[in-house]
Symmetry: C2
Subunit: 130 residues, 2 copies
Amino acid sequence: MFELHPRLTADTIPVTDWPLCRVMLMRDANYPWLVLVPRRHGVTEIHELDQSDRQTLIEEIAAASQRLQNLTQAYKINVAALGNVVQQLHVHVIARFTTDPAWPNPVWGAVPAKPYADSEMTRLLGAFAS
Amino acid sequence: MFELHPRLTADTIPVTDWPLCRVMLMRDANYPWLVLVPRRHGVTEIHELDQSDRQTLIEEIAAASQRLQNLTQAYKINVAALGNVVQQLHVHVIARFTTDPAWPNPVWGAVPAKPYADSEMTRLLGAFAS
C-alpha cells in the first residue's frame, strides 16, 4: 500500500493526484518547487518502476515542468530524483531564476526554506491544481 | 544538427551512443557518474522533447541507472537534469555511496573532481560500453 514518507508529508503541501504521482508543493517560497511521488509501494529508484509506470512518470514530469514554466516564466527547470535522505522515490521539479538565492547552484542545502505567505500559497495551489 | 556543448565535451569521456542519447562518463573518480545527452538540437528542457523522445529518454535513464547499480553495487542512484550552467539538456546518472565524499548531499560543488587512474577508467569504459 502506498504511504508517503513522513518527511515528505512534513515538507510539502498536497496539490493533486495525477494517474501515477501524488503532486505536492514544497514548503519553500524561495523557489516554485513541485515534488512528484509515484503512488507505488517500496520503490526507491526509477529503474524499479515497470516500463508502463516509467512512461507515465516522464509524461507527468514534463507536464509539471511545462506548467511550472508557464506559471512562473522560469529561466530554467531543474528535475531531479536524488533520495539520499528520503529513499522513497520522489522527483523534484523546480522553477529556477537567475535571481533566486541558490542560482546557479542546486537548491538543496543552499539557503533555509522560506515560509509562504498564505496568499501566495493559495494562488500557487490553485494554479497548479487547475 | 546535434553538437555537444564544449563544457560537456571537456568534462566527460564518450562511452557509447544509444538510440536517443550520447552516453558519457564524467571525469571524476569520486563517483561513478554517467551523463546522457539526447542527440537533438537546441533542446534545454525535458518537456521540449517530443513524447516519443521522452519515452526513449526515461528508458535510457533506467538502463544507465540499472547498469551503474549492477556494476558498482551503489547504495543509491541520483538522476538529475539541472542545466543551470550548461543549458543543453543533459541528464546526470550518478552512483552514490554512504562513503562518498559528498554523501548525503548532492555531488555538484561538493569536492573538486578527482582524476581517474587510467586502469580504472579503462575498466569502467569497457563495462559501460559492453
